[in-house]
């Protein structure tokens, strides 16, 4: 990605030289004080962690540092055509400042920020000033040659030329012209070098691929944990439920066999009990199946499964689905259980008396939004169940976004990249 200010090519350089110099000046003015202030506050804040104060202040300071680095990322892209990837871990959302502080301190991107502050206040500052000087210094020389030498103390050193009269002033002018020509060819490159330097420090090692690997490792672990926990739950449910009931049925039928001649009355009682037990086992199995993969989802797909779900809610729920096809079964299932959890949350905590569900597919993403007119204040984490949804969606590169201002309304969006068939 390059912009018009790219240093390659003479015409671009001609236009870019004065602009680059001005930008260099601006960068120099911002980077030194900004980097020093950020670095000092960060070091002080982290130093105060053992005392306790730092635990509260550090997240704010580090977020400030991050904003400062983000500003440079924007400028790098717009002024230098240098894209600096941004790879911060998602901020820990739990309200606990302790967890937030250490969550942030565990992020290598934060440490790269801090290291960059040191680089920026030294080498970064020098490159920025140099860009400005490439224009300013020749201008000074030209001014000296044009007559400024008369009012300056004698001798005035311009570069290696001691200006003391008309002749040396002209020599200084010639040097200034030479420097101007040199600056014309280098200024944009020097400015670009400033941003490349920032990228070298700020960009994650091994770039986006390494970050992707990290995310995949994390989501895969979550997926494996979740499915193992799910299997354990199913095993326990079957073991204590249907399996135990069928054992009871078998025993009762055995007793019936023995009693049928001697005590038909008692045998009939046991038969009735066996029938009740088998009916109960069926009910339990049905609930279990609904928890694993709801039958309507298998039979009709996401749209009708959500409609059927809405019909079971005690809150009036309007469902709007426009899906031209069906997603893969795992995606459908993930989306269904995400929506189901979000709806359960809305019913339990929001106090809403109306819920709207909208599902559609656009730009290669399945997007489901759930809106309620309740009191708001829903957060991911804090045991809301939404954190679990977020983790499960992670396996599919899906995301969960919650907008829930106090006083409502709550809007939860679930998005999963997928194709429909």
């Amino acid at each position: 990605m390059t912009t018009g200010t790219d240093g390659h090519g003479g015409a671009g350089a001609a236009r870019g030289f004065p602009l680059a110099a001005v930008r260099g000046l601006a960068l120099a003015l911002v980077s030194l004080p900004g980097a020093v202030v950020c670095f000092v506050t960060a070091v002080v804040s982290i130093g105060l962690i053992p005392v306790g104060v730092g635990v509260v202040t550090t997240p704010y300071v580090l977020r400030g540092v991050r904003a400062f680095a983000d500003l440079r990322r924007v400028l790098a892209a717009e002024w230098g055509g240098v894209r600096i990837p941004r790879a911060y871990r998602p901020l820990p959302k739990d309200a606990n400042p302790w967890g937030r502080t250490f969550g942030m301190l565990g992020d290598p991107a934060i440490w790269r920020d801090l290291l960059w502050l040191l680089v920026d206040m030294t080498a970064g500052f020098v490159t920025a000033v140099l860009t400005a000087a490439l224009l300013a210094y020749p201008l000074e020389g030209l001014a000296v040659a044009a007559g400024l030498w008369r009012v300056l103390p004698d001798p005035w050193w311009y570069g290696f030329v001691p200006v003391s009269g008309q002749l040396t002033a002209l020599a200084a002018g010639a040097l200034a012209l030479a420097l101007l020509v040199a600056g014309h060819f280098t200024a944009v490159r020097v400015l670009r070098a400033h941003f490349l330097l920032a990228r070298a420090v700020l960009a994650p090692g091994g770039s986006e691929l390494a970050e992707r690997v990290r995310v995949l490792t994390e989501t895969r672990r979550d997926a494996v944990d979740a499915s193992a926990a799910e299997l354990r739950r199913i095993e326990r449910d079957l073991h204590d439920g249907a399996q135990a009931r069928l054992v009871a049925v078998g025993m009762d039928l055995g007793t019936v066999e023995a009693l049928i001649e001697r005590d038909p009355e008692r045998a009939r009682e046991l038969l009735a009990r066996a029938r009740r037990s088998s009916a109960e086992a069926l009910t339990e199995l049905r609930e279990l199946v609904r928890g694993i993969h709801p039958p309507v989802l298998a039979e009709r797909g996401l749209g009708d499964a959500v409609r059927a779900l809405a019909l079971r809610l005690p809150v009036a729920t309007e469902v709007n689905v426009s899906l031209p096809g069906r997603a893969d079964a795992p995606v459908e299932s993930a989306a269904y259980f995400a929506v189901s959890e979000v709806l359960a949350n809305a019913v339990k905590h929001s106090g809403a008396d109306r819920i709207w569900v909208d599902a559609h597919h656009a730009e290669g993403r399945l997007r489901v939004t759930v809106t309620d007119n309740g009191r708001g204040g829903a957060v991911v984490g804090a045991g809301s169940g939404l954190a679990g949804v977020e983790r499960r969606l992670g396996t599919f590169d899906g995301v969960l976004a919650v907008s829930s201002p106090t006083g409502g309304p709550t809007l939860v969006t679930v998005e999963i990249p997928c194709a429909l068939s």
């Binding site: 009916a279 298998a298 039979e299 009709r300 079971r312 009036a316």
Partner: protein, 217 residues
């Protein structure tokens, strides 16, 4: 009474055939897939069809779709749909044409042969047989927001539940061990409290109650 039966699991199909034959039904065809069911319904002209929701080859709600299609061709064709799970969504689709002759029951209900065959006969005669679970779900939802339902006495609520399942006054009376006159009085009270028009026709009465319970969803 001639029955077309569609159920893909051999054990269940065999059991149902035996159960129905033991209770005096004639099995016109016992099939195991959607296409076979469609053909049997078109060729056999049965008095009633007993159909599993989920059938091969798609293993989706093929049975339900076949039944709905057959009813569009022959309005009021009596269909009793069996399923491992009941959904209001499906119940609503079955009832949508308002023609009656519809049943929707959990497979568990075949455990009680008397009640099951009673339901098959009722549907064949143009009546309704809704699973108690469907009715309970409807009632649970409506109760949360419906004042008239709250004004019913516990006994009236029981009668309403049984009526919504499609049972006649006589059946309700024997179930609750009261006289038919008492049931008639309860139903009149229920209709007055819910603001429904009274009808002598049993089937219309059931459909009105179901429509009331499913209203506004």
């Amino acid at each position: 009474m001639r029955v077309v039966l569609a159920e893909d699991l051999f054990l269940l199909r065999d059991g149902l055939v035996r159960l129905l034959e033991a209770h005096g039904f004639e099995i016109a065809a016992a099939v195991a897939s959607g296409p076979e069911l469609s053909r049997a319904l078109a060729e056999e002209e049965p008095d009633v069809a007993v159909v599993d929701v989920r059938l091969p080859p798609t293993q989706t709600d093929e049975g339900l779709q076949c039944a709905l299609k057959a009813r569009r061709r022959r309005p009021g064709l009596p269909v009793l749909v069996l399923s491992q799970h009941v959904e209001q969504l499906y119940a609503r689709e079955l009832l949508a044409d308002g023609a009656g002759g519809v049943g929707y029951l959990l497979k568990d209900r075949v455990f009680d042969a008397e009640q099951f065959t009673d339901a098959v006969r009722r549907v064949a005669a143009g009546g309704t047989a809704m699973d108690p679970q469907v009715i309970q779900q409807l009632l649970a939802r409506r109760s949360a927001e419906d004042r008239p339902l709250e004004r019913l006495t516990p006994r009236e609520r029981e009668v309403l539940e049984l009526m919504a399942q499609g049972r006649t006054n006589a059946a309700i009376a024997s179930r609750l061990v009261v006289t038919e006159r008492a049931v008639a009085k309860h139903t009149a009270n229920i209709f007055a409290k819910l603001g429904l028009e009274v009808s002598d026709d049993d089937n219309r009465r059931v459909l009105a109650v179901l429509a009331y319970l499913d209203h506004g969803r």
